[in-house]
Structure formats: C-alpha cells, structure tokens
C-alpha cells in the first residue's frame, strides 16, 4: 500500500487517475459504438418502412 513518502503518495494517486481515465475511455468507446449501431438500426428500419410504403403505392 502507501506510506507517508510524498513520491509514493503522488505515484499512487496518479495511478488511480490513470486507471480511471482508462476505464472511462473504454466506456466512452463502447458508448459510441452503441450509438452507431442503434443509428444504423434506426436507418434500416426507416428504409424498410419506406420500401413498404412504396410497395403499397
């Protein structure tokens, strides 16, 4: 763990922040992918609706 040495404490806290940054970065990427997939699904559904509409005409 950590002692009262300023270097150890600083390194420990930088590691905490670094790990947090890695975590949020992964989550952000996954979130972007999710939005992309959902966007594509929405587009596909709209195209399908349009096709159905045109077929009925």
């Amino acid at each position: 763990m950590v002692n009262s040495d300023p270097k150890s404490n600083a390194l420990f806290k930088l590691k905490l922040l670094s790990d947090y940054q890695k975590l949020t970065s992964v989550l952000d990427k996954e979130s972007d992918k999710l939005h992309e997939v959902k966007g594509k699904q929405k587009d596909a559904a709209e195209i399908e609706n349009l096709k159905n509409f045109l077929n009925k005409k």
Binding site: P6, N9, L11, L16, D19, Q21, K22, L23, V26, L34
Partner: protein
C-alpha cells in the same frame, strides 16, 4: 538556426540526463492539467524529483481527484485510502451510467433506487408527523373547550400533512416484469458487450445486474431470474399495499377527531406508526437489494474490463 530553448538552455524535447529536475515536474503537471493522467503517470514513473516537487504533484493529483468527488473536500493532502474511495466510486458511477444507457434493465434498477431512496425520506417524515399527531390527539382529551378545539385543528393539519406525504410514496418499478420483457426481446446490438460484462468474478448467482444477459448464459438464468423475481414481487406488491393502507387509515382517523374518540384516534395513529415502521424496514431491504444489483453489475463490469484497462 534558432532553437527553442527551455529556461535552462536546453533544446525543448531534447532534454538530457542530469538536467534540472523542474522540467520533469512541469511536464507531469502539464499532462495532468490537460486531463491526461495516463501520460502523467508514465512520466512520473521515470522521473527523479525532490520531495517538494512530489508534494506539488500530489497536490495537483488531489485537485483532480477532488473534482470526481460530488461531496468535495478541502482536506490536503488527501489520505490515500480516501483518494482511492473517491476514484473507485466515480468509476462505479461511470459504469452504472453506461449500464443505464446500454441495458434497459439497469435503467429500471436506477429508477427504482431513486424511488426507494425518496420513499425512505418520506417515510421518515411520515413517522415524525405521526408523532406530532399523537401529541395533538392527546391534548384533544384535555377538557378545556377552546384549547381542545385548537388542538383538534392542529391534529387536522397533521393528518392533512400525512395525506400529502402519503401521496408522495411511489412504487418502484416491477423489475421482474421488466426482466421478462427484456428477455423476450433483447437488443441484439447489446449482445457483445453485455456478454463481456456478464461473466463475473463474483459468480453467476450474484450477477443480478446482468440478468438481462441470461440468453447467453442459460446456467445463470434460474438463480438470477429468481432473485429478480423475488425483488420485483416484493417491491411492487408490498409497497403498493401499504401506501394504500395509509390513505385509508388517515381517512378513518379524520372521522374520529373529537374529544370522545380521542383515545381511539391515538390507537389508530399507533397502528399506523407500526405499519410505517414495517414499511420502513421493507423499503430499506428493497433498497439494499437494488444496491446489490448495482454492485453486482459494477463488479462484473470491472472483472471483465480488467484486461482492457490495464
């Protein structure tokens, strides 16, 4: 040729071993202040700095950590254990926020948690209002006409307040129903990442937070599904029933409000208090279960994201 030099006369980006330490410190602080803790940590591992420089870096790190703390603190330097707690909680919240966005079930859990937390506060207020009402009901018995009428008015105000508080009690969502709905039609786009979250180091059984993913892990279905069903039945049934009871009880008490029925009024208020204490316990249990689901989800996510974030 004009070279860009640092204050020590060395070309920028070409710092030599043995050069003044301040440059490393500044570089670490710059990375940190830019929000690039990964880079700051990498540089710090290689740096050889005097204790006062490490102190300044620690202070800058404390500032960043404090920004992750919704409650904030002026304590300096932060105790390492406290710093770890703040960053861990912030990470947990980031995972839960992601979960709410990605998995409808986790969004429902979050809404239930908010409702149960609010119920907990409301129940506490109701219990205090019941104490007030009992006090005024006892005074109604004092046979001084105007004083008695005055206390009856106060008692009526107490009961009106109780009715208002009662109306604030909300039933949390029936999670068992939500789970079933999600199982029938899971969003295929979620599959890959849910799958990565769902294999928990904590074991399938406690991974209720990712019960949504049971399509991928049939062995986990029975245990997690059952846990959720119990939770959903509990919250939807019990809280709804007691919430209705309060409304009826207060209506009954209002009819009794006069000097001849003061004792009966007090009895009714005590019955109501008993029921509210029971509701308080059950609400706290339900909240514990919701938090357990969140904890399981976070643990599962951390266990499975481990290799991705190291």
């Amino acid at each position: 040729m004009n070279l860009l030099l640092n204050p020590h006369g060395h070309e920028l980006g070409q710092e030599q071993p043995g050069m003044p330490k301040g440059t490393d410190e500044q570089s670490i602080l710059t990375s940190l202040n830019r929000g690039d803790a990964i880079s700051a940590e990498r540089k710090a591992k290689e740096a050889d700095l005097p204790p006062d420089a490490w102190g300044r870096i620690e202070n800058a790190a404390d500032d960043k950590i404090n920004k992750l703390n919704p409650h904030g603190t002026t304590e300096r330097p932060l105790q390492p254990a406290q710093a770890e707690k703040v960053v861990t909680l912030a990470g947990d919240q980031a995972i839960l926020n992601y979960g709410k966005e990605q998995v409808p079930f986790m969004n429902t859990v979050s809404e239930s948690q908010k409702a149960l937390e609010k119920n907990g506060n409301t129940i506490q207020e109701i219990l205090q209002a019941i104490q007030q009402a009992k006090k005024h009901a006892r005074r109604v018995r004092i046979p001084i006409p105007i004083y008695g009428l005055f206390q009856t008015k106060k008692l009526k105000d107490d009961l009106t307040k109780l009715e208002g508080l009662n109306a604030q009690l909300k039933n949390p969502a029936d999670i068992s129903y939500k789970l079933q709905a999600d199982k029938i039609s899971p969003d295929s786009s979620d599959k890959t990442f849910i799958k990565s979250l769902a294999v928990s180091g904590a074991g399938y059984g406690v991974l209720a937070g990712t019960a949504y993913a049971t399509n991928f892990f049939p062995a986990a279905t029975a245990t997690t599904g059952q846990a959720i069903a119990v939770f959903g039945g509990f919250t939807a049934g019990t809280v709804l029933y007691l919430s209705g009871f309060i409304g009826l009880a207060i209506g009954g008490i209002k009819k009794l409000m006069n000097i001849r029925s003061a004792n009966k009024t007090i009895d009714e208020l005590e019955n109501l208090e008993t029921e509210m204490l029971e509701l308080k316990t059950k609400n706290a249990e339900a909240l514990g279960q919701v938090k357990g689901i969140n904890t399981a989800y976070v643990q599962g996510a951390r266990a499975n994201l481990g290799s991705m974030i190291r």
